[in-house]
């Protein structure tokens, strides 16, 4: 069974803290994605990686960075958390060829106080 896991389901951090969100997939997928989900706005792409150490900015990269040192792991970093980064964060992975179906993790609900 294919699986994408995220390190935390719920996270509470203070303004200004550095926050790490971890995502691991066991499907040997080349592509990995980080989205944030907010009511009424759907899913917005933060960053995308198509290979180890490779990354591309998505629609809303400001305030975020990413790291992909191994194929199965993709980390989202909030350098200095702010209250407007309170959101649901979803990780996904997919193959680089074929049907483009993305497989999602359960999400991390981050609250910044």
């Amino acid at each position: 069974d294919v699986k994408v896991t995220q390190s935390s389901r719920y996270l509470v951090k203070r303004t200004g803290e550095k926050v790490f969100l971890e995502c691991v997939q066991d499907m040997d997928h080349e592509n990995m994605f980080w989205y944030r989900q907010d009511p009424g706005l759907g899913l917005r792409l933060i960053y995308f990686s198509y290979d180890v150490k490779m990354k591309e900015k998505g629609d809303i990269p400001e305030g975020y960075s990413v790291s992909r040192e191994k194929k199965e792991r993709f980390s989202l970093i909030l350098e200095s958390a702010s209250t407007n980064q309170t959101s649901m964060y979803l990780c996904a992975s997919s193959l680089v060829a074929g049907e483009r179906e993305q497989y999602f993790g359960p999400g991390t609900r981050l609250t910044v106080t």
Partner: protein
């Protein structure tokens, strides 16, 4: 570039009634189309997809969607909904690259 519009943000419906969730897209290239479902406090799961061939695609739990190229639509339907279908539904489109573009989501609320 692609865009996806889900015309209804919320759809309330009584149990055992039919439902249609609307999705329109725009793209300058041939597309793959997807419907994802998100149950409360969970990630997104693929419900069904259109890649090529028959324009009517079905899921294992009774949903179906029809690709209409002339109207650039991919509406999701179910003839009789259950309480367990209560969830948020997302339409997504791929233009053949690595990205999916998602619509804003439709919250289906099934009432007893």
């Amino acid at each position: 570039a692609q865009s996806v519009t889900q015309l209804d943000s919320q759809v309330p419906v009584f149990e055992e009634a039919p439902v249609e969730l609307r999705c329109n897209y725009s793209s300058s290239v041939s597309v793959y189309l997807f419907w994802y479902v998100q149950y409360p406090n969970q990630g997104l799961q693929l419900l069904l997809k259109y890649l090529s061939g028959s324009t009517l695609v079905e899921s294992i739990n009774g949903f179906e969607a029809e690709f209409n190229k002339s109207q650039t639509s991919f509406h999701l339907r179910k003839p009789s909904v259950h309480i367990s279908d209560t969830a948020e539904y997302f339409c997504a489109v791929s233009g053949g690259g690595n990205m999916l573009t998602f619509g804003g989501g439709t919250r289906l609320m099934v009432k007893p």
